[in-house]
């Protein structure tokens, strides 16, 4: 195991996969000469050159479209979205094209493309740079969607994403880039999609989350432990495919569940998880499934209001209290 931070775990995985496979290339805005807005690609332009680290014009639809075509021809593009909010410009290429190509061609053509970048709130980036859109993508058959919470998960899931023959949306909460952790010394370390992780074991309530909200849940679990409530934290990791079984098994043990997500509370992917728990675990539940989500407003700039919008550990603790 080696100590690192989330950003560098991603970067190391990119380097290793590019060294392993010449078909892997990076493409995006300011990822090369400028070293990447969040420095995930720092140094890679110098290491691999402009053939494999491609700086683009600011044209998200054409970037993803070009990557789709390159993937159809057998390359393995890893697209960086400067923020996932900008991927909205490329929705046509992601949803109307990437997600449909294998199906529309009757299985003839594969699209091994990864679209990665920061999703969710950072620090006062306001309404157009702070959105959590993973639920939009996880709604769409044909895509795979992952949202790692730790450096090791980022390291293993990114490798799985690059080696996957399907389009993968890989969302990185910007608040995690500096998170410390350990990663295995294994250039083939992968984490399969559709496998959730028990981030903390407990017997009294299940907190279900992904990405940065896993850490919010872990903080809440600490507080709850002080009250004698042992919370189990399920890190979903992969939204599509979703490891429903691990979630249900935990709820069957604890009989209570709260789903926690940074996305707007209404209509988010967390609501899908809550619906599944209600539908499939009804007899095991001692209370209705709780939800904690982001406030249903565009993200405000000013710090006090921004903090109000993003769920924190107190919100989670309150939600657990409301179950009783």
């Amino acid at each position: 195991m080696a100590a690192t931070i989330y950003r560098d775990a991603l970067r190391q995985c990119l380097i290793e996969e590019m060294e392993r496979d010449d078909d892997v290339f990076l493409i995006g805005e300011d990822i090369g000469r400028y070293q990447g807005t969040f420095r995930v690609t720092a140094g890679l332009f110098d290491q691999f050159g402009e053939r494999r680290v491609v700086d683009t014009p600011i044209t998200e639809p054409a970037i993803v479209g070009l990557a789709n075509g390159a993937a159809m021809a057998g390359l393995r593009p890893v697209v960086e979205m400067m923020t996932m909010s900008f991927s909205i410009l490329a929705l046509d290429q992601i949803i109307n094209h990437a997600a449909k190509i294998h199906y529309m061609t009757g299985g003839e053509i594969k699209v091994p493309i990864v679209i990665r970048g920061p999703g969710g709130a950072a620090n006062q980036l306001s309404a157009q740079h702070s959105q959590s859109l993973e639920g939009w993508y996880a709604h769409c058959p044909g895509l795979k969607v992952v949202a790692p919470a730790t450096p090791a998960c980022a390291y293993g899931l990114l490798r799985s994403a690059i080696r996957d023959d399907n389009p993968v949306i890989f969302t990185e909460n910007p608040g995690l880039y500096g998170l410390k952790g350990e990663i295995p010394d294994d250039k083939d370390f992968t984490i399969p999609f559709g496998s959730a992780r028990i981030a903390r074991e407990g017997k009294d309530v299940t907190l279900i989350a992904y990405s940065r909200m896993v850490h919010v849940c872990l903080a809440a679990a600490q507080t709850l432990a002080g009250e004698g409530v042992e919370a189990e934290v399920v890190d979903v990791r992969s939204l599509l495919p979703l490891d429903t079984e691990t979630i249900l098994a935990s709820v069957r043990k604890t009989h209570r569940a709260v789903v926690v997500y940074e996305d707007w509370r209404s209509g988010a992917f967390g609501a899908e998880i809550a619906a599944r728990v209600g539908e499939l675990c009804f007899d095991d539940l001692d209370a209705p499934v709780g939800r904690v989500g982001g406030l249903n407003v565009p993200m405000p700039y000013t710090r006090p209001l921004e903090l109000l919008c993003i769920p924190n550990d107190h919100d989670v603790v309150d939600a657990v209290h409301r179950l009783n």
Binding site: P61, N68, T105
Partner: protein, 338 residues
């Protein structure tokens, strides 16, 4: 636009006959598709290529078939057939059958045949243009001398992503030809009402892309222009944009049943004088390359062949229900059930 110059023609009588047969085959195939649609054998959207045959037969006759890459929007039966896709599989796809080119999951708009170099088959106007650039990007990345030929309509020439793509291919010198099939109509909107500058060939100029307007009705002239431009792109490994002037004799789709909304019978009558089939027949007569009897015999033979294709396709089964889940992913099934 260069004037047609038949005196420069070096086509052999055999080549003339082949072009005649190929275009006539597309014409009859499309007419059969229309009939099948009216008979309820074809659903959804159906866009036929009647009047535009030289753009497929002429241009695709000049590429390295099976090596170069071809991508087109949704009026594509002619491209697949000319590239050599099995016509029964093409018809079967249009009829939604399991043995169709896309297993019945694509339909008329979504035909693909990678072995023949055909990459579809796209329903979002302009959306395939950056994908085409990606195909060319891959070839440049691997240092292979393929070219990509990307067809698009005059309507797609206004799409924002097309301009973004032109910038990229100009910036990166990608070996691609954008071929604007200017049939004068974006669905039912005439070019004067959809383009600020109706000379669409100019769209490549600001991006440093070799751009020109050429004829699309006289298949011999089409081939001369096509070979010249294809050779140039392959040799220089730089993009080109061509606006090919054509005319859509059919409606936008099979459900477009009131063409008086956007054009007059007089206009169609005038365009008919340059119908590609009529032009090549006139050429054959003018040069005494075939007797009238032989031309009629060829026509009858092709009609019979298309009938046979149709009946073979119609005998094929629809997909089984379980196939609905296949090919969403390469390696897993989606969750099942409603």
């Amino acid at each position: 636009m260069a004037k047609p110059a038949h005196k420069d023609l070096i086509a052999s009588p055999a080549e003339v006959e082949q072009d005649y047969r190929d275009m006539l085959f597309l014409r009859h195939f499309e007419e059969k598709c229309n009939a099948a649609y009216r008979a309820g054998k074809v659903g959804g959207y159906l866009h036929v290529y009647i009047g535009m045959e030289p753009l497929a037969v002429g241009w695709l006759g000049c590429i390295k078939k099976g090596y170069d890459r071809v991508i087109a929007p949704y009026r594509i039966h002619g491209h697949a057939l000319t590239l050599g896709s099995d016509p029964v599989k093409v018809m079967a796809e249009i009829m939604g059958r399991a043995a169709g080119l896309s297993h019945g999951k694509g339909g008329s708009m979504h035909l693909y045949d990678v072995e023949k170099g055909f990459y579809g088959g796209w329903g979002i106007v302009g959306g395939h243009t950056p994908i085409a650039a990606g195909l060319a990007f891959a070839d440049k990345y691997r240092n292979e001398d393929r070219i990509t030929l990307c067809y698009l309509g005059d309507g797609a020439a206004n799409a924002g992503v097309f301009f973004e793509t032109l910038n990229m291919v100009g910036l990166w010198d990608l070996p691609i030809i954008f071929l604007i099939e200017n049939n004068l109509f974006a669905m039912g909107t005439r070019i004067e009402y959809h383009a600020a500058d109706t000379e669409l060939w100019k769209r490549g100029v600001p991006f440093g892309i070799h751009s020109e307007r050429v004829d699309g009705m006289d298949v011999f002239q089409v081939k001369r222009d096509a070979q010249r431009i294809i050779d140039r792109v392959r040799r220089q490994q730089k993009p080109a944009l061509v606006e090919v002037m054509t005319y859509r004799f059919a409606g936008h789709g099979a459900a477009d049943n009131d063409q008086s909304l956007y054009r007059t019978p007089k206009e169609v009558e005038e365009a008919r004088r340059r119908d590609p089939i009529a032009l090549i027949e006139g050429f054959i007569r003018e040069h005494n390359l075939m007797t009238q009897e032989k031309m009629e015999a060829i026509d009858a033979e092709i009609v019979e062949r298309v009938e046979d294709i149709y009946h073979q396709a119609d005998a094929l089964p629809f997909p089984e229900p379980g196939e609905v889940y296949e090919h969403v992913y390469t390696d897993m099934l989606p969750e099942e059930g409603h």
